[in-house]
Symmetry: C2
Subunit: 224 residues, 2 copies
């Protein structure tokens, strides 16, 4: 038995999702922060692609990449179900997880967190104002879509919390770090976020700090 270890970086939404999932499943793990842009030999030995996150489970099993880790956790630790109870719900959870990890990431996260946090931390560069403007415009459609979904279901993919919620919340928590989520314009989406932000699993994210960049005042506030 080794210690269950997650190699990650707090600025990666896909790694934030995995941390949420591990906490939802009440699985203890050690966190190792790795450089997402310059894999060292230890990381390359675990994942030849050099990408994060990477999970090394208690049994020594190495699992690379957010998709593979989420599916693995469902297979090996099914006690807390995060995918859904039938093929329909699971297809919906996977569709929405990909929506946030791909579409939201491309249209919002890269423009906002990418410019304000990642670029500053890794390149010591100033954010591109056109990218910020695009991100701030694009986010509204996604926040409306979350509200639309929660009017029809308790959580995003079904009446149970799933990887769809964890993906969406992982991305939004990063945008929220710099105070760029227009919560006041989207009260239903805020209600959903309050529910997920209040969960035990979310505490790990609320304690994250980006070196040299203070979080917005509301970031860790449950009553924002």
């Amino acid at each position: 038995m080794t210690t269950r270890t997650l190699f990650h970086h707090s600025l990666l939404p896909t790694a934030r999702k995995v941390r949420l999932a591990l906490h939802e499943k009440r699985l203890e793990f050690t966190e190792v922060t790795a450089d997402p842009f310059a894999a060292d030999d230890e990381l390359l030995a675990l994942n030849p692609a050099g990408d994060l996150p990477v999970l090394v489970d208690e049994n020594g099993q190495i699992v690379c990449g957010t998709q593979a880790i989420c599916e693995y956790l469902e297979e090996v630790y099914p006690q807390t179900n995060l995918l859904g109870r039938n093929p329909k719900d699971r297809a919906e959870a996977r569709r929405l997880a990909a929506w946030f990890d791909e579409k939201f990431n491309r249209e919002v996260t890269q423009h906002l967190a990418g410019e304000k946090l990642t670029r500053r931390l890794f390149e010591n560069g100033a954010p591109d104002s056109r990218a910020l403007r695009a991100g701030r415009e694009n986010i509204h459609t996604h926040l409306q879509y979350i509200a639309w979904l929660t009017e029809r279901r308790s959580w995003l993919a079904s009446d149970d919390i799933s990887y769809a919620d964890l993906s969406a919340a992982a991305h939004l928590s990063l945008i929220d770090y710099s105070g760029d989520v227009p919560w006041a314009d989207h009260p239903l989406t805020k209600e959903w976020y309050v529910r997920i932000k209040s969960r035990f699993s979310f505490r790990c994210l609320l304690q994250d700090t980006v070196p040299g960049i203070a979080p917005a005042a509301i970031y860790a506030d449950l009553d924002f």
Copy 2:
């Protein structure tokens, strides 16, 4: 019961993978070619993200996105296993499927097929010579990695064929359409590709043609 239908485009490697999977599982389906850059109302009604591929199964179940479709097919049609027999093999198949769908796509497919086929078909534009050079350089590491894997296992992720092989072959088949895979430099990788190219499931890809762009002479040749 409706007719099982796949909405796809032959220039999308992620959709090519799904077609291979459906044929490997001997599931009959109707193909509908959709525009990957301008979703029409029919596609948007099925997938609000407007992305391809989308599967509508016989029971009417809509499944959006290559990951969700592959996992769904394993759950609902497990007879032909394409993921692996245990969590270790499945983690490896998912790691390698993501390797090709993300890393190979970024480093090779977008530079070669993206420039020579997609740009020409949808923008009527000439390929960017720097991108072509980058793609032709980058492909060697990936072809070496495939050879390295097949020296250790019968197929890429384990001793069984899996989504890892289908992902890799889906991307390579697109590069091969324009004759840009340097097979002569990578005989072991070629052996693996001969094996997969000879399968019944591959025939659908070998019959694909891109309007206005003839395939390389070896594209559909099993004895290349």
